[in-house]
Symmetry: D3
Subunit: 339 residues, 6 copies
Amino acid sequence: MNKKHVAAYGEIMMRLEAPNHLLLRQSENLNFSFTGTGVNVTGLLAQFGYDSSLISAVPNNSIGTAAIGAIRKLGIRSEFIIKNNDNLGMYFLEKGFGPRASIVTYANRQQSSFNTTDISQYNLLQKLENVDVLHICGITLAMNSLTRENVLSLVKLAKTQGIKIVFDCNFRPSLWGDNGNINAKPFYETILAESDIVIMSEKDAMLTLGLQTTELTQEGQLESLLPVVADKYNINTIAGTIRTIRGSNHNVIKGYLYSENEMYYSKSFDVDILDRIGTGDAYTCGVIHGTLSNMNHQDTVNFSTASCILAHTISGDTPLFDTDDIIKIINEEKNDIER
Amino acid sequence: MNKKHVAAYGEIMMRLEAPNHLLLRQSENLNFSFTGTGVNVTGLLAQFGYDSSLISAVPNNSIGTAAIGAIRKLGIRSEFIIKNNDNLGMYFLEKGFGPRASIVTYANRQQSSFNTTDISQYNLLQKLENVDVLHICGITLAMNSLTRENVLSLVKLAKTQGIKIVFDCNFRPSLWGDNGNINAKPFYETILAESDIVIMSEKDAMLTLGLQTTELTQEGQLESLLPVVADKYNINTIAGTIRTIRGSNHNVIKGYLYSENEMYYSKSFDVDILDRIGTGDAYTCGVIHGTLSNMNHQDTVNFSTASCILAHTISGDTPLFDTDDIIKIINEEKNDIER
Amino acid sequence: MNKKHVAAYGEIMMRLEAPNHLLLRQSENLNFSFTGTGVNVTGLLAQFGYDSSLISAVPNNSIGTAAIGAIRKLGIRSEFIIKNNDNLGMYFLEKGFGPRASIVTYANRQQSSFNTTDISQYNLLQKLENVDVLHICGITLAMNSLTRENVLSLVKLAKTQGIKIVFDCNFRPSLWGDNGNINAKPFYETILAESDIVIMSEKDAMLTLGLQTTELTQEGQLESLLPVVADKYNINTIAGTIRTIRGSNHNVIKGYLYSENEMYYSKSFDVDILDRIGTGDAYTCGVIHGTLSNMNHQDTVNFSTASCILAHTISGDTPLFDTDDIIKIINEEKNDIER
Amino acid sequence: MNKKHVAAYGEIMMRLEAPNHLLLRQSENLNFSFTGTGVNVTGLLAQFGYDSSLISAVPNNSIGTAAIGAIRKLGIRSEFIIKNNDNLGMYFLEKGFGPRASIVTYANRQQSSFNTTDISQYNLLQKLENVDVLHICGITLAMNSLTRENVLSLVKLAKTQGIKIVFDCNFRPSLWGDNGNINAKPFYETILAESDIVIMSEKDAMLTLGLQTTELTQEGQLESLLPVVADKYNINTIAGTIRTIRGSNHNVIKGYLYSENEMYYSKSFDVDILDRIGTGDAYTCGVIHGTLSNMNHQDTVNFSTASCILAHTISGDTPLFDTDDIIKIINEEKNDIER
Amino acid sequence: MNKKHVAAYGEIMMRLEAPNHLLLRQSENLNFSFTGTGVNVTGLLAQFGYDSSLISAVPNNSIGTAAIGAIRKLGIRSEFIIKNNDNLGMYFLEKGFGPRASIVTYANRQQSSFNTTDISQYNLLQKLENVDVLHICGITLAMNSLTRENVLSLVKLAKTQGIKIVFDCNFRPSLWGDNGNINAKPFYETILAESDIVIMSEKDAMLTLGLQTTELTQEGQLESLLPVVADKYNINTIAGTIRTIRGSNHNVIKGYLYSENEMYYSKSFDVDILDRIGTGDAYTCGVIHGTLSNMNHQDTVNFSTASCILAHTISGDTPLFDTDDIIKIINEEKNDIER
Amino acid sequence: MNKKHVAAYGEIMMRLEAPNHLLLRQSENLNFSFTGTGVNVTGLLAQFGYDSSLISAVPNNSIGTAAIGAIRKLGIRSEFIIKNNDNLGMYFLEKGFGPRASIVTYANRQQSSFNTTDISQYNLLQKLENVDVLHICGITLAMNSLTRENVLSLVKLAKTQGIKIVFDCNFRPSLWGDNGNINAKPFYETILAESDIVIMSEKDAMLTLGLQTTELTQEGQLESLLPVVADKYNINTIAGTIRTIRGSNHNVIKGYLYSENEMYYSKSFDVDILDRIGTGDAYTCGVIHGTLSNMNHQDTVNFSTASCILAHTISGDTPLFDTDDIIKIINEEKNDIER
C-alpha cells in the first residue's frame, strides 16, 4: 500500500461529560475522552484508510499517557506526539435537550502542553517528509502568540516540502478578545494564502477578513463572499455547512463547496442528534477524502455532508465509521438491524 | 440585598428511579434524589434569587441527614426543617416511553415524618416573621387529619403575620377515597378564602368545589369556572396549564392565568420531554416570580409557561435554571452549543 | 385455574449490549440478558397468564445457571431446560441511532448447548402431555442438520399428542448459505404442513417455498401469496407485520392476519423505538392469545399489532407487559403519569 | 426424584444498598435486591437440591412483581406467594469499613403486605401437604399481633400435618419495645415447644426465656443454658454461631450444635467479609441439610459453619453456592483460579 | 444555641477519581467531588455541631455553581464564598493498592479563582464579626505572592477582631521551588507568631524554620523541636500525627499534642484504609473541638487521633461522622451491624 | 533509538468480568477488555520501552476492530495483526473473595480467528526481519493441530532469522484431554530445544516431559528437575514463580531462575491481590528485560518477582507500569500519596 499520509497540528483535549443529559451540579461522575479538531480529523481519516498522524504535545504525567493511548486506539500514529510540561486542556460538557442548549466550559487551556510548546520541540523537519496533507485549525491561531507563531512556522515548513494545507477557519470571537477580528486578520490572511482547502462560513469571511455583503440569506452571503476569498488567496476549495438549529436534539444541515468558480450544495438533511460536537470535523474529512480520491465536486459535497450527518449519530466528538457507512447515507438505505 | 423570602410547607420525598427507561423488574439499581412540590418550588425560587425555606420534617436517621443535605445543595435554607420520627415518604418511578406511560408507586407515605409531625413542633411563630410568601399544596391536605389540621393552623398563623398564601390545589381523587370530593370541599374552601395565588385546573374546580359547567373544551370550562372561584373566594390570581398528552416523551402545553376579571393565555408549546415530574411546580414559580416582580399578567403567563417548558428538559423533579434561561425560551433563541 | 400451557423449543442466547448507543470499540462494559425467540414468546405469554415452558439446553457452568435463573425470573417454567455441553450462543448488540442501523454480531452459536443437544436428551414424551401449544422458530431450522432433525422429531411427537403448532418462518438467507432456499424448502414444507398458526412474510413465502407474484406492494404480494400457502399446507392462520424503516428510532408498522379466506389488517402505527429486537415475538404472542381466547380475527390482528407496538417501548428483547397494557394502546389512551 | 420440600414463612424485603462503602448522603444511586431470612434459607436450600417454597405476601404493584421474579430467579417456588395490599418492607444498607460499623435503616415495615396479611389468605391447608420442613423466624414474631397470631396458627397447622419446624429465635430487643422480653416469652415458649431444630444464642435464651447463668464465656453460657432449653421444650437440635467482631471486614466465627445431650463445636475461622448479612441463614441451611441428609452431629456443625463462612464471600444477603463449594471450605482447599 | 463559629480560608478543588483502583489510562469515567483542606475542616466541624463557613472563590460558571451546592450539602455556610474569574483547581486521583502508591495529578491550580482573587474582594470586615476561629493552611501560602499577601492580610484582620488562628503548616517543598524553605521561612514565622493552634510535623519545623536536632526517631525530633517552636512563637498547642506507611491500604498512626510544656501521645492504631486523603484534616478538627470544648490535653489527642482513624474509613476527602462515632472508636466498641 | 523488538504469537481474548466480586448470576453487566498472554507480555514490554508487536488474528467485525484498538492503546504495534474469520475467544471471570476461588469460564475458543488461521496468512517472512525476540505460549500449543503446526512453523522460521525464543510452558492438563501429557511431550520437546528462555514450573517439567523426582518441596523439585531440562534442551534460562495460595485476595510469591548451572531465588512476598490474572506474564517480562538489558541473574529474578508482585495491584490482565515502579518495589519504598 502506498497510502496518503495526513497530519494535523492540534490540541488534544480531555472532554468531561456529565452523563444522561445531567447538569454538572446534578452529577457525581463524568465520562471522559480525548478529543480535539485534529484528533477528530486524523481519527476519521485513519478509518477511511489513510495514514494519519497528530502533531501535538501532552503533559508528562498519567493524563498524558492516557491521552496517547486514546489517540493510538483511534488508529492515529503517535510518533509526532511529545510529552512536555504539565497540563492538558479540558472541557466540561453539559448536554442540552430540546430548547435547552448544550454548555461547554473550558478549563486549563492557556497552560496546556500544546499551547505552551514551541514548534521547534517537535523536530518536524524529517518527520514531515512523508506527509501529504497538513490540517490546521483556526482555534490554535486564537490561543496565544506562541501558538500563532507555531502555526506560521509550521505552514511555512510544510509548504517548502510540498505539503497541501487544509485550514479550518473556525473563528471564535470570544477567544480573540476586543478588536479580535482586527488582530486576527493578518494571521488568517497569511494562512489562507498558503491553503489548498479551506473550511469557511460566511461569518468567518466577514469577521476575519472584514468582507461585507448586502445579501441576507446564508446562501446569498456565501455565494457573494466565497468567490472573492478564493480568488484573492488563490484557494482551490472552500467548503462548509449551513446549520439551522431546531433544538439541541434536532438540526437541519446542508453542505456547500465552492471550487473552480462554481458553488455546489448537498440536499438538506433533518438530523436527530446523539452528539453534535465534532460533526464539522467529519465534514472536513469528507472534503479531504473527496479531494485526495479525485471525486467530482458534487460527489464531494454529498459525501462530506453525509459524513457530517452520520457523525451526529455517534457518541463522543470523534466520528467512528467507514466510507461504506457514508455511502449508505448517500443512498438513503434505511436498514433494519444489520446481522 | 433585601430579598423576598418564600417558604413552603411540604413533604420531602425520596424519588427512586429505575434508570434508562427500565422497569423495576428489569433493574438492579435505582437513582435517588429528594423532591416534593415544596422542594421544587423553593429550589427554583432560590435560583431565581429569592431567599427560600422549606418547612418540613425528616426522619432522625441517615436518610433524614441525606435529605437535608440535598435540600441545602439546592440553595434552600434548612432552618425550618426538623428531624422527627422514623420515616421518609418515597416513590418509585418507572419512566415511560412513547405510548407507555410512566408509573409512580408510592411507599411509606402515611408514616412519614412530615405526615406525622404536629405543626407546633416546628416552633414557627418567630421564624415566619421574615417570610413574605407561603406555599401550600393540596396533596398535604389529602394525607390525613393531622396534616389537614396542620395546614389550617399554618395558614391562619401566616395570615396573622401578613404573609401571602400560594395554594396549589393539586386534587388527587385517589388520595381522598370514597366521597373524597365531599370531604375535601370544606378544607379547600377554607384555604382558598385565604389564598392570594391559586394553581387550579378546571377539574380541581369541579371536583373540590362541586362547580359545574356546560362548556366542553378545557378553555371554555376554565373561562366559565375560574371567574366564579376568584370572585367567591376573593382570589387575586388563578393560574395553571392545559396539557395534551401525545405520549410519554411528547406533550403540548399552554399556560393560562386569570386575574382582575381577565383570562390570559400563553402560546402553545410542543414539548419533547426528558423528565415530566415537577414541571407544574416550575409553572407555579413563574407565577410567584411574576407577581413578586410586578410583571404584567401576559408577561407572567408567558414567563411561567416558558419556565414549565424548560423544566421538561431537566432530569429529576426539581427545575434547575435561572430566569435568564427562561427568557431565552420566551425569545425562541435556538442556540447551538454555548461555550 | 385450568390454564393453557404453551411450550417453545428455542435457543437461549446471551445478549451483550453496548450501553447508551455506544459502539463496541467505544465501550468498556456491556449490559447482558438472556433472550431468544422462544424466551420472548413464553415470557410474554406467562405475563398474559398462561403456563409457559421453554424446551432448551444450556451449558453446565455458571453461564447456564445464570440463564436458567433469568428464564425463571420471567415467569417461565424451567422443568424442560437441561444442562448439557459447554457453550451458550451469544450476540453483541450495538444500538443504532437515526440513520445509523443497529448491528448484531453473533458468537459461539454453532457450538451452543442448544444447537448440539439431541432432542432425545430432553425426555419429552411425558413432559409434553399437558402442553397445548408448541412454538417453533425457523432460525432453529437453519442452524445445522442436528437441529433440523430435532425440529422434525419434535413436531411429529407433538402432533401425536394433539398439540397445536405455531411456526415462525423467520427465514434468514445468510444462515442457509448458497442455494439456501433450495435446501430450506423441504424442511419448511414439512413443518408448514403440520402448523396451525404461521408467522410468515411475503419474503418468507417467496424465498423458502419459491412462490412468485407479479404484485409490487407488500400488501399485494401478501394477498396473492398467503392464500396459496394457507390452502396448500392447510394452515388455519398466517400472520405478520409490514414494517417500514424510517430510521433506527422510528418505524411504521401495520399488522396483517389471513384466516378463513380473509385478510385482516390493523391500522398503521408510527413507532418511536426504545428497543426493536423481540418486537416480532410480541406480535406472535398476540396471535397465539387471540386464537386461544377465541378473539375474532380483526380483534386478534389489532391486539397483536398493539402488542408489537408496545414491545418497542420496553428495553431488552423480552416484552414485559400485561394484556391490560395492550388494551390501552388499542384504545389510544394517552396517559400522563400513572400513580 | 423424591426431593424433600422445605417451606419458609417470612417477609420479602427490598434491600437498598449504597454502593462502594458510601454513606447514603454520599451516594446518588442504590443497588437493590429482594431478601429476608426466609428468602435466604429457601434460596440456599434450592441450590442444595431441595424443593423450596416461600410463604409470603407482596404488594399488588410493580414492586411486588419484581419481588416475585427475584424469588423465582433464586430457584425458589413461587406458588405460595400472594399479592395483597400495597407495601413491601425495605431496608437501606450503608456498608461499614474497618472500625466503622454497617448501618441498616428500616422503612415501611409495619405496613408491609407480609405484616398485614392474615395467614388464612394463603389457603395453605392443601398446599402444605407435600411440605416436609417449615422455617419460622423470630423477627416475624416481633412485628405485630397479627403476625404473632399468624405464626401460631401456621405452626399449629404444620404440626397437624407432621411437618418439622425449624425456628430461628433471632430476638431483637428493639423490635419488642419496653418489657419486650416479658411480652415475647409466651410466644417463644409456644413455638419452641413445637420445634425440632432451633437456632438460638445464649442471649436469646436469657432474654426470651429469662434463663440465667453464672458462666462468663459464651461457650460456658451456651453449655449451661442450651441443655436446659432442649430438655424443657423437647428440642432435638439447638445450634448457632459464636461471632467475634474484629471490624466490619473481619470477624472470627465458630459454630456450635447441641443435640442428644452433647455439645459439638466447629473450629474457629478468621473471616474476611465481603457481605455479612444473611450469613447466619447460611448456617441454618447447613443444620437443616445435615439433619435431612443424616449427617452426624460433628459433620453437621462443620458443614454449617463452612456454609456460614462461605456466605461472607458472596455479595448480597442470599448465599449462592452448592454443597460442593462448602466441602472445599471444610477440606481447606485453597484454589488458584478455577478454569 | 450560641454555637461557636469556625471559618476557614481555603481553596475548593474538584477531585476527579478513577473508580475501582483503576489507572486513568484504564478508565473512561471519573467520580468527582469538591474538596480541599478548608472544606474538610469546616465540613467536619459542621457535623460536630459548629457553625462553619468557608472563605473561598469559585468560577462564575456551572462548575462554580456545582461547587457551592456541594459545600452547602456538607452543612457549611456559603455566605463567604464569591464567584470570581473562570477556573477551579482540580486534582486527578489514581488510588493505589498494596505496594502501589496513590497518585495525585494537579491541574489548573495557579489560575484558579481562589488563587487569583484578592482578599479585599470578599468584603470580610463585617462578616468576620461573629467568627470565633479562623483556619489557615500552609498550602495557600505556597501558591503565589497574591495568596501569600492574602493570608497575611487576613490573619492581621482576624487578630484585630480577637479571632483565634489555627494554622496547618502543611509544607510542600515541591510547591516552593528551589530554596523554597528560605523563601517560606518569613511567611511561616509571621503566621506562627499569630497562631493559637498549629498543626506541625518535625519535618515542617526543620524545613520551614530551619531548626535542627540530633534526635533520630520521629518522637525524639518532635520532643526536641516543638517546645522550641511553641516557646519562640508563643503557641498554645502544636499537634499532628506520626504515620508509618505499610502500603496504600494499611498505615500505622499515632497522634501527638504539645501544650503547656508537655507532650501527649495517643496509642498507635493499625488502620485499614478506604480513603486516605483528608484524614489529617479530621485530626485538626479533633484538636479544634478539644480546645473549644475544654477537653484536657490527653483526651484531645485521643479524640483527634480517633477522628483521624475513622476518617480513613470514609470514601472521599471530607470526613463524615459525628462526635458520637468518634467516641465509639475511642472506646474500641466493635459493633456488628447497627440496626 | 535502536530499540529491541519483541514479538509475541498469541491469541487476543475478550475478558468479560462480573463487577464487584459478583457472580454471573448476580450481575446484569460485564466489564470487558482484550487480553491474552501475548497481549500482556508485549503490552508490558512496550511500557518498558521496547518495540513490541503481536502476531494474531481477530474477526473481521466490530469485535475485531475493538480488539485492535485496545492493543494499540497499550502501545503495542498492530502491523502483524490480521482480520480473518468470525470469532474471538472469550472468557468470563467471576472474581473470588477470601476462600472462594475465582472462576474462569471459556467460550468460543476453538472457533476463534486465531485458532483457525494458518500461520502462512500472516506473511511473516519479511515482517520478522527486525524482530529480536519471539514469545510463544504453551496454551497455543494445546489448542488444536493447526495451532500446533503454526507454532512449529513459526519457531522454525524465527530460528532461521536468528530470533531468540521465549517459551512459556503453561501446561494445562484440561486442554490436552486424556493422555494429554503423552500427546504434548513431542511438541514441548521440539520447542524447548529451540528456546533460549523458558518459563517452567516443576509440574510442567513432570507433566510434559515425564520427568520424576523424589523431592517433596517445590524448591527441591525445581532444583532437581530444572538442571536436567536446561541441560538436555540446551536452554539458557529457566524461570518461574512459587505461589502459595492463602485465599483469593492473598498469595505468597517467590521467584526462581536457573541459569548457567545455578539456581537464584528472590525473597518471598506476601501479596494482597487486586487482580491475579496476567501476573505470571509480568514475571516473564522481567526475565526478558533482565536478559536483554544484561542484568545479572540475581538482579533479574529480583526484578521479575517485583514486576509480578506489582502486577497483582493492577486491575485487568495486562500489567501497566514502568521499570521505575518496579524499582520502588525492589527497594521497598513505601510511599504515601505521590503528588
